[in-house]
């Protein structure tokens, strides 16, 4: 066990996997940085530092700085994967998928199905996502519901350093295309990480807290807020399950239903806006499959139906927070 940040874990995992598999390549904007400048290569190592040192170790053939061309970053990764490579494509901010969505949802996600099961496209599309850094409407979005709704891709969002290692290793070795979402607020989170090879299967939620009174289901950056709310309520003798879904596609429906069958109360926390969201998806799941277990209406704590705002006050109002989560949980307890 070593204590590492998520940023360090992602970097070390890519190093380890590129070493293990000479067929693995990585490409993206400024993942090396400095090409064509007086300062020279390896000026940045990725804007989050997650690709530091890769270029020096694996060279320009496998660690590829691209022009600012997101559609062709994904297309290049996908074409190389169809032709037998394994690729990590980095989209600097998840919001930029707006310019490469065709390659993700019409191409990568559908190849295997359209081609009659005769192809594989093993790529990991890594991207930073989420609000909290006052980066405003085009650098802050929580895009996972959009990806979760697309058949043919898997969607992964780790919240602890150990999970980041296990899930990224699995994502890279997975033969299906994977969207790997890295919360901007989580890069600096540190924790114990298992040594050596460590893989986590997709579709298995993590119980971040265990309790009997309320089930709080969430993912990504919202897990830490849910934990804070649960810890605060624990002081008043209210115990909560906090379920970190970890992968929204495939999703561990069993863990959610089991928890609600025990507690009878559900609060879903979602960083994305409320319509056609993960919150509505999970609410529908529980309403249709565990209706008789419910002892109170389902509470949804989500972002509002608005773009992500810039000003500190507005962004604070936009994001779910521990106080809102606690209020929602207490509301389910006070029902009837």
């Amino acid at each position: 066990m070593a204590k590492l940040t998520i940023r360090e874990v992602i970097n070390q995992t890519i190093h380890a996997e590129m070493e293990r598999d000479p067929n693995l390549i990585m490409l993206g904007e400024d993942i090396v940085g400095g090409a064509g400048t007086a300062g020279g290569q390896e000026a940045i190592g990725g804007i989050w530092g997650t690709s530091a040192g890769l270029f020096d170790k694996f060279g320009a053939g496998r660690v590829i700085d691209t022009p600012i061309s997101e559609a062709t970053i994904i297309g290049t990764a996908a074409g190389a994967a169809l032709a037998g490579k394994r690729a990590i494509a980095e989209i600097m901010f998840a919001d930029f998928v707006g310019v490469c969505m065709d390659q993700i949802y019409n191409q990568v996600a559908k190849f295997r199905y359209m081609f009659g099961g005769h192809s594989t496209c093993p790529i990991v599309i890594r991207m930073s996502y989420g609000a909290g850094l006052n980066a405003a409407a085009q650098h802050s979005q929580a895009v996972y519901p959009m990806f979760t709704s697309i058949p043919g891709i898997k969607v992964v969002m780790p919240t602890t350093p150990a999970d980041a290692k296990g899930l990224l290793t699995q994502a890279i070795r997975d033969d299906d295309p994977v969207v790997f979402l890295e919360g901007k607020l989580l890069y600096g989170v540190s924790g114990e990480v298992p040594d050596g090879e460590y893989l986590l299967p997709f579709g298995q939620a993590r119980m971040a807290r265990e309790g009997n009174d309320v089930s709080i289901v969430t993912c990504g950056q919202m897990v830490m807020f849910a934990e804070a709310a649960a810890d605060a309520m624990a002081k008043d003798g209210i115990s909560c399950d906090v379920i970190d879904i970890r992968t929204t596609s495939p999703m561990d429906e069993e863990a959610i239903l089991d928890s609600v069958e025990n507690t009878g109360r559900l609060v879903v926390i979602d960083e994305s806006p409320p319509r056609c969201s993960l919150a509505t998806d999970i609410a529908a799941l529980v309403a249709s499959k565990a209706f008789s277990s419910l002892r109170a209406p389902i509470e949804l704590v989500t972002a509002p139906h608005s773009p992500v705002p810039f000003a500190r006050e507005l962004e604070r109002a936009y994001l779910p927070n521990p106080a809102r989560i606690e209020a929602a949980a207490r509301k389910t307890l006070s029902y009837r």
């Binding site: 390549i25 053939g61 496998r62 590829i64 691209t66 022009p67 061309s69 559609a71 062709t72 994904i74 297309g75 290049t76 990764a77 996908a78 074409g79 190389a80 994967a81 169809l82 032709a83 037998g84 490579k85 690729a87 065709d102 390659q103 019409n106 191409q107 559908k110 190849f111 295997r112 199905y113 359209m114 081609f115 009659g116 099961g117 005769h118 192809s119 594989t120 058949p151 043919g152 898997k154 033969d175 299906d176 579709g203 495939p250």
Partner: protein
């Protein structure tokens, strides 16, 4: 015209197969036999065959919505394709691709594509894989005068130059992007010239002449195999059919279709040239015609009665594991 007799016969057979495949689909679709949207390649055969006769199974192509010709030229099984277009269980893609997404990755055919302009970035990726593998393989992005207006095509042209990849950007200028003239939609009126502006060599020629198309592509493929980076080719060609089957083609000039079929038919010109030069006999060509006619007839008969996919197969192959 230095091709040996076998190669000439093969090229003719490939072009004739594409033509008869498309003419037959045109008839069967009009009868209501086939579901969905179909875009026929007839008229452009000398391009697909001129390209693919210079390639092997180790080379890659990425195709378009008008992809049947590219598939056949790259070696996809003709009966498997017919079954696929009829939506049959035994089709090349199990009845999931239909006309617009046929692929055979084992032949280096990385898919027809329903999205105009989506192919060039994928071809760049296959070119990257080819370069990393270092065995001299090349990748071809088939695009039209329509796709040349998509930003993805510009991105791909630039990326291929920046990374110096063995990619051939094969622009088939058939003068129509769907129902709109290239004279209107291509601002510069110069498809190949645009590729040149990204810093690559451009070759242009008559895509209705197999021999010209073949020679230009031979030069392009050799250039890429030698590690010189990407190259663009623009071939002027003709679309004998509408954008899709059922298109009334009101945008055509008076007598245009008759004229291009009379004056710009690559099969007619091929026959005339090889007969005049004494390279192939009339009998040999007629024999190929008969073989092709039988193949297409058999494919349709088989496809008509073949079983469709089972409803429970709807969830097959979405993922490898989920």
């Amino acid at each position: 015209m230095q091709l040996p007799r076998d190669a000439l016969l093969r090229a003719y057979r490939q072009m004739k197969t594409i033509r008869e495949f498309e003419e037959r689909l045109h008839t069967e679709i009009a009868k209501g036999e086939i579901a969905g949207f179909t875009h026929l390649y007839g008229g452009q055969e000398a391009v697909a065959v001129g390209v693919c006769e210079n390639l092997t199974d180790s080379d890659y192509i990425v195709s378009t919505h008008r992809g049947h010709g590219h598939c056949i030229a790259k070696g996809c099984d003709v009966k498997g394709m017919m079954l696929e277009i009829y939506g049959r269980r035994g089709g090349l893609c199990k009845g999931r691709s239909g006309s617009m997404h046929i692929a055979d990755v084992s032949k280096g055919m990385l898919g027809a594509n329903g999205i105009v302009g989506a192919g060039a970035p994928l071809a760049v990726g296959a070119g990257l894989a080819a370069k990393l593998d270092g065995k001299g393989s090349v990748s071809v992005a088939f695009s039209g005068d329509g796709a040349c207006n998509q930003g993805t095509t510009f991105e791909a042209l630039n990326m291929a130059v920046v990374l110096k990849l063995p990619v051939i950007f094969m622009f088939e200028n058939n003068h129509y992007s769907e129902h709109t003239g290239a004279d209107y939609a291509v601002g510069s009126k110069d498809v190949g010239g645009r590729a040149g502006a990204f810093g690559m060599k451009v070759l242009k020629g008559n895509g209705c002449d197999f021999f010209e198309s073949y020679e230009i592509l031979r030069e392009a493929v050799e250039y890429c195999r030698a590690g010189n980076g990407p190259i663009a080719v623009e071939l002027d060609t003709e679309r004998f059919f509408g954008h899709f089957e059922g298109d009334p083609q009101r945008y055509r000039g008076k007598g245009e279709l008759d004229r291009i079929r009379e004056q710009r038919d690559c099969l007619k010109s091929f026959r005339a040239k090889v007969l005049e030069a004494g390279l192939l006999s009339e009998e040999a060509l007629n024999e190929v015609d008969a073989e092709v006619a039988t193949l297409i007839e058999d494919s349709v008969i088989e496809a008509r009665v073949a079983p469709g996919p089972l409803p429970e197969q709807v969830l097959e192959d979405v993922y490898i594991s989920y």
